[in-house]
Amino acid sequence: MKFAIVKGAPPEPASPTRAALAVELSQTSVTFGSGASAVPALSETTMRIPDGEFVALVGPSGCGKSTILRLVSGLVQPSTGAVIVGGREIAAKALRIGMAFQNPTMLPWLTIEQNVMLPLKIVEPFRSRFRQEKRGGFRDKVHGLLAQVGLSGFAGKYPWQLSGGMLQRANLCRALIHEPRMLLLDEPFGALDQFTREELWAILQELWLAHRPTVLLVTHDLREAGFLASRICVMSARPGRILDDSPVEFARPRSIAMTFEPDFVALNQRLRELIVDARSAQTAGSA
């Protein structure tokens, strides 16, 4: 069940396995600022995510989980080491990655339909066809995706007319509309109530099973990680390292009832202990 992550392994030469890797972090560290005020956020992390996998990152607050997301999306450059996404070293130009945050950031002057359509206006090959198809094919595409998350009939509404849970569904649609190979989610359901959250887990699972993007999910909710992920990485306190990396092998589609079964509870328990240890190691270190 558990295996230690290989540290300091030299980058492999081009091989079939390499091509199937969506994300590869090798000996990557990130430090914000410089000199005396330098803050190490991530220390020499090595991580490999095969194409189409659903990885959850859990760990104590401020451990660098979000930094990994920002590395993969190209928003942050590594201080040392390399980040390879889709077989290429990540450059300033990112590869049409879908992102969603806890804050749904819908633009208030656009309808839900227009909000979800926004990535098509920016990402090629949709961009060059946007004018011709925004009232045709693209519109159908948006409506189709909205229907999948239970938002049909809300396309023409404005963001302030929707509840937090509905906005977060629209947010997922916006992150997926341009069929990204990679989806980065930073605590997307953190601000929702328990029942809405469970509902959205099921929706996200369905979307993932249907489109199969590679997903990197940052979360504080261990049940969420266990329910959704095919692999869970536990990180240490800042500066973050990966402490534990385990596959989650429950059959899909998973149900909420499954999260109360003994195996699932045991997994939860083990993850919890790892994080509690990581937290207390940090407290002892700083004392």
Partner: protein
């Protein structure tokens, strides 16, 4: 709708009450019309002298609009530069604040010195007085874009221009229109100021001449005209604002009036 109607009724009532009160005050106190003319007198003067006043009204309106349009253009460009670039903000802001703190009355003689009296100094004065609120509001609107929204777009590979066009500028519209309403009133102040000091045309000049002839009702007629023009332009911009940025004012329908 009935609440809206009621509100309008009370607003109209207050305006009427103001003028009736003024009229009564003049009649009862026997105030000389050299000090405070009655509103009915002002209105009579306005109607009677309208053919003479009309070219001056056009002059003031044209000067104000020209100064305003140039001021808005300058304000938008400066505001966009300052709002997008942190370096430009830090570098240019102190200078801008210094410039905007100068009382514009003090600048009119300099403009007259450079360009002679007439329309040019009036346009320049109204420009220099109205561009600052635009700069501040555009810069604020652009600088308050949600960082998460920017991250989402950058991850998609959006260029700086994509982000500005799709998020920055629409976001700035409510700030922009709020500042337009302030700027148009300022532009009038600038024009009339320059006209009183150095011009032989325009409402400002008419009021100056009238006051030196002790034609006080005509001075007040000038005030009425300025107030009317100011209100008309304010309403015009409010209506455009409602159309463009209705999303930002959905909760208060008094923004329309």
């Amino acid at each position: 709708m009935s609440i809206n109607l009621k509100r309008r009724f009370w607003a109209a009532g207050l305006i009427l009450l103001f003028f009736v009160g003024w009229e009564l005050f003049c009649v009862i106190s026997g105030m000389s019309d050299l000090i405070l003319p009655r509103p009915s007198q002002v209105l009579a003067t306005l109607v009677q002298r309208f053919p003479v006043l009309w070219p001056h009204i056009l002059q003031t309106l044209a000067t104000t609009m020209l100064g305003f349009v140039l001021g808005v253009a300058l304000g938008v460009v400066l505001g966009a530069i300052i709002g997008v670039s942190r370096t430009a903000y830090d570098t240019a802001y102190p200078l801008l604040i210094g410039f905007s703190s100068i009382p514009k009355v003090a600048v009119v003689p300099i403009f007259v010195l450079w360009f002679g009296s007439g329309t040019v100094p009036a346009v320049l004065t109204s420009l220099s007085i109205c561009f600052f609120p635009i700069v501040v509001n555009i810069a604020t609107g652009l600088a308050t874009t949600e960082p998460e929204m920017e991250d989402v777009l950058k991850a998609l590979g959006a260029s700086k221009f994509d982000i500005l066009w799709n998020v920055g500028l629409p976001r700035t519209m409510p700030f922009f229109f709020a500042s337009l309403k302030v700027a148009i009133t300022y532009a009038f102040v600038g024009t009339v100021l320059a006209e009183t000091v150095a011009s032989n045309r325009g409402i400002g000049n008419v009021m100056m001449t009238a006051s030196s002839n002790f034609n006080v009702p005509l001075v007040f007629a000038g005030l009425f005209i300025l107030a009317g023009l100011g209100v008309a332009l304010y309403v015009a911009f409010s209506l455009i604002e409602m159309r463009v940025t209705g999303w930002a004012t959905r909760k208060n329908d008094f923004a329309a009036a």
